[in-house]
């Protein structure tokens, strides 16, 4: 129990419990249905991938605003290149493209000593522009053969009775959680964001750590785009628009501090769950859907205050 309380996703756990209790009280019959849970968890899974990547970058005291565009680019590349390279080929190329964008931005930030907010803001616009120019405004569909391809089904169908996106989320979150908490890389990542000078004095090559964080972030965003399209191949060039804001919100609600050095994978997933749950419940309660963004803003601010107080209470310097 003590370990859970001291864990960096504890704020998000409290948040999820509060959300579940409140939603159960005001809309028990609507909330606890198989359809609602499927709806909420499916989109939570997609957003979680982007949020987990964002969390890794935030832990290094940087930020990546380009994830929505990278998510879109990978998805568009996956569908557009499929006729030429087949499903497995286009999937690999799409992921390589996503990783390349992450690498390019990371090198610009690290080697150019530039603020990641500016560099990735440029990335957001540049990548979105590439999507528009590349597609000319329309993204065609998967062919009937591509939709039933085993690789498409592996990422877009059901695996072991659950939606593929949820299955892959469990797998990837578990791996990342272990990497973050039980490997030297995880320690270096948190040390880089926590106190860079101190980390470097202990031999941590913080530049490399940051580069890996950006690449992983873009890869996860790209993978989320591919998962989305394997499940629903009907898309548009707006794929991923504004997703960066939801991903950052999810990571921060999940316990990541923009001051770096603090955050967790499970927290990012729970943060995504809170964000998506709010959208569902507001619509279910009949609130205009444009209110959703207002509520995300309010929850975000409350979460930042709560997480900071919690961190201080637990003796962390923030």
């Amino acid at each position: 129990m003590k370990q859970i309380v001291r864990s960096q996703g504890f704020g998000a756990i409290i948040g999820v419990v509060v959300v579940l209790v409140v939603f159960s009280l005001i809309d028990f019959s609507g909330w606890w249905t198989a359809q609602t849970i499927t709806n909420v968890t499916q989109f939570t899974a997609i957003l979680s991938f982007v949020a987990m990547g964002q969390a890794l970058v935030i832990m290094t005291k940087e930020i990546d605003l380009s994830v929505g565009s990278v998510y879109g680019l990978a998805g568009v590349a996956f569908i557009t290149l499929e006729p030429s390279f087949g499903v497995p080929g286009s999937l690999v190329i799409a992921l390589v493209m996503a990783a390349f964008v992450g690498l390019l931005q990371a090198l610009t930030v690290v080697k150019g000593h530039l603020p990641s907010m500016i560099v990735t803001l440029g990335g957001l616009f540049a990548v979105r522009g590439i999507i528009y120019v590349w597609t000319g405004g329309s993204v065609h569909n998967f062919s009937a053969d591509a939709r039933i391809h085993p690789v498409t089904r592996l990422f877009g169908g059901e695996l072991f009775g659950v939606e593929a996106a949820i299955f892959w989320l469990v797998v990837v979150a578990a791996v990342l959680g272990i990497v973050l908490r039980a490997t030297p890389f995880g320690n270096r990542l948190l040390a880089t964001g926590g106190n860079r000078e101190s980390a470097e004095s202990r031999g941590v090559r913080t530049d490399r750590v940051k580069i890996w964080a950006f690449v992983l972030c873009s890869l996860l965003a790209g993978f989320a785009g591919i998962l989305t399209l394997c499940n629903q191949p009907q898309t548009h060039v707006t794929l991923g628009e504004n997703m960066e804001l939801e991903a950052i919100s999810a990571a921060v609600i999940g316990g990541c501090l923009l001051t770096g050095g603090r955050g967790s994978i499970i927290g990012a997933v729970l943060g995504a769950l809170i964000v998506v749950s709010f959208r569902y419940e507001l619509i279910a309660l009949g609130a205009p859907s444009s209110w959703y963004i207002t509520f995300v803003g309010v929850v975000l601010i409350v979460a930042v205050i709560f997480n900071q107080k919690l961190a201080r209470f637990l003796g962390h310097s923030v």
Binding site: F43, I46, G137, T235, N242, S289
Partner: protein, 343 residues
């Protein structure tokens, strides 16, 4: 290009005749007209406008047309783009009045500075006298688009071909777009007369978020049996969500009925495949060509039309969708048409 629309042909013939007159004159003045659009490269409908403007340039070689647009459904960005365009002192501007309040200032300044303005696609919806004093409006009637589609659906429901509406959701990707709001208002007026409840839902333009939002709405409102998507490209998302929820969204006498807009490949193929009951044409081709023509006639001869020029709506249903597909293939080409079909 095979244009079967008689209105389109009339316009082209008139354009050809006047183009001939214009070309016959020596020492012609050179003009530069700018279309400042909200239909960006993220919207396949842009092709209608740019292709018709290319056609216009071929007819009037002394006119250079420019098409500039936003991509992210932001009124503020559109206004900035408009202000930039005005600062280049063009000989005429065509612009959709996405927001009367936001566009009023820059457009009145432009008109006062002697730049003729034609509104296209979306008019200033305010009463006469309060409107921005543009030359004319060329485009569909957004309110009528929703109303006529609604009335068409009610006719089919009366005939027993589709279910009678109980709850209609108007799914919009841009909550600030007054043209989309007018479409929803038209649908609302038609459907409420038949006793159906109508809700407007802001789903956004991002596909996964839009699906999630719409799915949430359908779960929370299980009596919803009509979905009206106010963009053609979001109709496959609506159909996909309803299909995934096993709500039987194909056009038949049970389940959910999907209605959409536009004469793009997605909408037309949705109708042909039996996924969408009907869509509409707002005469996009003419919306690119005719504003340029009126700007030209105004600059060259001082002509000013005395009324709005409506280019739609025209209902596209299963009876005429094949002919529309042929027409659109003629404009976009087979390859682009097939690529834009996202069903």
């Amino acid at each position: 290009m095979k244009f079967r629309n008689s209105v389109l042909l009339s316009a082209l013939m008139a354009a050809t005749a006047l183009g001939g007159i214009a070309n016959a004159q020596d020492g012609e003045k050179q003009y530069r007209f700018v279309m400042v659009s909200h239909i960006g490269s993220n919207d396949p409908n842009m092709g209608w406008l740019t292709k018709s403007m290319e056609e216009f340039e071929r007819k009037y070689p002394n006119v250079k047309t420019e098409y500039i647009s936003t991509n992210n459904y932001s009124v503020q960005e559109h206004v900035r783009l408009l202000e930039q365009a005005i600062s280049t002192q063009p000989d005429g501007i065509a612009v959709p009045i996405v927001s009367s309040d936001a566009f009023e200032g820059p457009l009145r300044k432009a008109i006062e500075a002697g730049i003729p303005v034609v509104a296209f696609n979306i008019p200033d919806g305010r009463p006469e006298g309060e409107r921005i004093p543009y030359l004319t409006y060329v485009g569909g009637d957004e309110y009528l688009t929703g109303k006529k589609l609604g009335e068409y659906a009610l006719e089919k429901a009366e005939a027993g071909e589709i279910p009678k509406p109980t709850h209609v959701v108007c799914a919009s990707h841009d909550s600030a777009h007054q043209g989309l709001k007018a479409r929803c208002a038209g649908m609302k007026d038609a459907m409420e007369k038949a006793g159906a409840k109508v809700d407007e839902l802001f789903i956004g333009a991002e596909p996964a978020t839009a699906r999630n939002t719409l799915q949430s709405f359908l779960q929370a409102n299980p009596d919803t049996n009509y979905i009206f998507t106010v963009a053609g490209w979001s109709s496959p998302w609506a159909w996909g969500v309803a299909n995934e929820m096993k709500l039987d969204p194909d056009v038949d006498d049970k389940g959910v009925t999907v209605l959409t807009v536009d004469e793009g490949p997605v909408s037309i193929e949705g109708v042909r495949a039996g996924h969408v009951l009907a869509t509409n044409s707002q005469g996009f081709w003419l919306q690119g060509y005719a504003p340029m023509e009126w700007l030209y006639w105004n600059k060259e001869f001082g002509y000013a039309p005395q009324s709005y020029i409506l280019t739609g709506p025209v209902i596209i249903n299963k009876d005429n969708a094949d002919k529309w597909a042929e027409l659109v293939r003629g404009v976009f080409g087979d390859k682009a048409y097939d690529e834009q079909n996202t069903w």
